[in-house]
């Protein structure tokens, strides 16, 4: 991802690479599939008749079948890739915004105001000390957040990519009482020794020593470019610090939360909102690009459906003769129908599933390069479009089944007796 003056643009290489990867992987898979047909043909000599026939049909019409497999794979792959990246992009933007804010909603409480009881189950208070420094050989400006470890988890946004340790574990470490006067702290964005001196500036400087109990890649409420320290607010009680800015972080629908605050008569000011943190318009180019790719995938899928229709129509005489053959040789219509279903499954379902697998693999390779706001944590998140993938995989099964049923009905309508009469 590169960012111009006003508009974020897609890194062409980052976009093209997975697509080229998809096409190349499909091409390799097709070669392997073609190469596997010979051994499959040999191995299937003693397999059930329907499978025996289906494998031979696929082998006989390998060019058409492999073309269909490749088309289905590319259509499904493009769609799976684009939907996954779009979803990942949305999730990343949302996560970055919530990380910056701290939760779904963050408001600054007026002095002496507390979180009303009706919100306490999904809210936490955070004391913010904007003017502070940490001395790690040289002084560095930091922001200190005094949190309540007992309520933090219920309200703060958290993603497992933030830290190797779980939020529970981090909060437990912060909740531990100071040892030898050293306040347990989680450090974000600064390379500090195990202990370091911190100063909070407010009508003079209050100094204390922190004990670095964990580092995190990101933490709720962190600010871009500013190292941030998280400590238990209660650990600062004895420092006689001036009253800090107190924020309420509230999980859940923003409108509902603000309404609840207002209804309780709480005085507050909303300093920043999720939808203000990231300028969504800046990412329209990216979003449209992947949206366009999704459309391409859907269009390719429609073409695949047309391809199936053409394929079935081209094989119509063969099916009729196969059915007539079934009548003469005693091959049951059920076996004939199963063979047709297996043949279509081999082309459409295998192609679709293969494409989805490759598309998701491509998305996994690409998502790290598509960071809508590189300066904000967390790093890009991967959110596989599970519903779309499952839906597509199921749709492929349904399409193959329906196509087999329709082809079968058409064969029935063509009256095999007439075919036989023409022949015998």
């Amino acid at each position: 991802m590169s960012q111009g003056a006003d508009v974020t643009r897609v890194d062409v290489l980052g976009l093209l690479f997975p697509l080229l990867f998809l096409v190349a992987a499909v091409a390799v898979a097709m070669r392997l599939l073609a190469a596997a047909l010979g051994p499959l043909r040999t191995a299937s000599r003693t397999w059930p008749t329907a499978l025996y026939l289906a494998i031979r049909r696929v082998a006989r019409y390998r060019v058409a079948v492999i073309g269909l497999v490749a088309a289905a794979a590319i259509a499904a792959g493009v769609l799976g890739y684009a939907v996954t990246l779009n979803r990942s992009l949305d999730a990343t933007l949302d996560a970055k915004a919530k990380t910056f804010i701290g939760s779904d909603t963050a408001v600054r409480l007026s002095p002496d105001q507390r979180i009303p009881p009706e919100l306490s189950a999904r809210a936490t208070e955070v004391a913010v000390y904007q003017r502070a420094w940490v001395d790690a050989g040289r002084r560095e400006d930091v922001i200190v957040h005094g949190i309540d470890p007992s309520t933090f988890e219920r309200a703060a946004f958290w993603d497992s990519s933030f830290s190797d340790a779980s939020l529970d574990e981090l909060l437990d470490r912060l909740a531990a009482p100071p040892r030898d006067g050293r306040v347990p702290a989680v450090v974000v964005g600064a390379d500090l020794p195990t202990t370091a001196e911190v100063g909070i500036i407010a009508a003079g400087t209050r100094r204390f020593t922190i004990d670095r109990v964990a580092d995190a890649q990101a933490f709720p409420g962190m600010k871009r470019g500013n190292p941030t320290l998280y400590v238990a607010a209660s650990a600062l009680d004895d420092l006689d610090l001036p009253r800090p800015v107190t924020e309420a972080w509230i999980r859940g629908d923003r409108g509902d939360s603000l309404a609840a605050l207002a209804a309780a008569g709480t005085e507050f000011r909303e300093g920043r909102r999720v939808d203000e943190v990231v300028d969504q318009a800046s990412f329209l180019t990216v979003s449209w690009t992947f949206g366009f790719m999704q459309s391409l995938g859907i269009a390719a899928g429609v073409l695949v459906l047309g391809g199936i229709a053409v394929y079935l129509d081209a094989r119509r005489r063969g099916r009729l003769l196969g059915y007539a053959f079934a009548r003469r040789m005693g091959l049951s219509p059920r076996v004939h129908r199963r063979a047709l279903l297996l043949e279509l499954t081999a082309s459409v379902v295998v192609g679709c599933w293969l494409g989805l697998g490759i598309g998701l693999g491509g998305a996994r390779l690409a998502y790290g390069r598509i960071d809508p706001v590189p300066g904000f944590q967390p790093d890009p998140l991967l959110r596989p479009a599970v519903a779309v993938v499952v839906g597509l995989a199921t749709t492929a099964l349904v399409v193959a089944g329906l196509a087999a049923v329709l082809a079968r009905r058409r064969t029935d309508r063509d009256d095999p007796v007439e075919v036989l009469r023409a022949g015998i």
């Binding site: 000599r45 006989r60 019409y61 003769l321 091959l331």
Partner: protein, 225 residues
């Protein structure tokens, strides 16, 4: 084999077709017996009822009246499932168009293997049959890589595998040139000499001359047997 124990027999067979112009009597009171191990030829001009007779013998069509016995079993009384199983086990059928006798996606050897599989017999006989029809070197060929005569010979080999009680062939030389037709007649003769019972509908003089037994039809009636 004694004539009193034929492989197949028709008694008072009648077959009608409904057409826009009214009912057409394809077969009327047909009595015929087809002995084991012999090449029987059903001859007659177009429209004489040859194909209808073969279709009824194959159990692919039920007659309006009469009976068709195969090894003593009346096919007209069998339900479709049993009839299909009987046909699979006891009959081999070859049509006049070579392309209709083979599945286009199977190689020559596989056509015979599939027939063996459907018949529930081993395919061990396949090489000998391919040799008998003179196609050992074409075992890996698809139908469209074979000439019409070769396709018919593969069809006969597939039909004959497992030694079914009855082989039926409708105008098998109709689409072939004279040389290929002569080769096919020789193939049929070889199969019969090997023990097969073959009933062939044909108006090809070469086939008629090669037959052991002739049933001549005209207007749906047997005029000579």
């Amino acid at each position: 084999m004694p004539a009193s124990d034929p492989a197949a027999r028709c008694r008072q067979l009648a077959v009608d077709y409904d057409t826009a112009a009214g009912a057409v009597h394809a077969l009327r009171d047909v009595d015929a017996a087809f002995d084991r191990g012999r090449l029987s030829v059903v001859a007659g001009p177009s429209g004489s009822g040859k194909s209808s007779l073969l279709r009824v013998l194959a159990g692919l069509q039920r007659p309006r009246a009469g009976a068709v016995e195969l090894d003593g079993t009346d096919l007209t009384r069998l339900r479709s499932g049993r009839l299909r199983r009987l046909r699979r086990r006891a009959m081999g059928i070859v049509l006049h168009d070579p392309a209709d006798n083979l599945l286009e996606y199977l190689r020559a050897g596989e056509q015979i293997t599939l027939a063996a599989c459907l018949r529930g017999v081993g395919a061990g006989e396949a090489p000998a049959l391919l040799d008998a029809v003179g196609l050992t070197d074409r075992v890996g060929s698809y139908p469209d890589e074979l000439s019409g005569g070769e396709q018919q010979r593969v069809a006969f080999a597939a039909a004959a595998i497992g030694r079914p009680a009855l082989l039926l062939a409708d105008e098998p030389t109709a689409e072939l040139d004279a040389d290929a037709g002569a080769d096919l007649v020789e193939t049929m003769r070889r199969l019969v000499d090997g023990g097969a019972t073959l009933v062939v509908a044909s108006h090809d003089d070469a086939v008629i001359a090669a037959g052991d037994h002739l049933v001549r039809l005209r207007d749906g009636r047997v005029v000579a047997a």
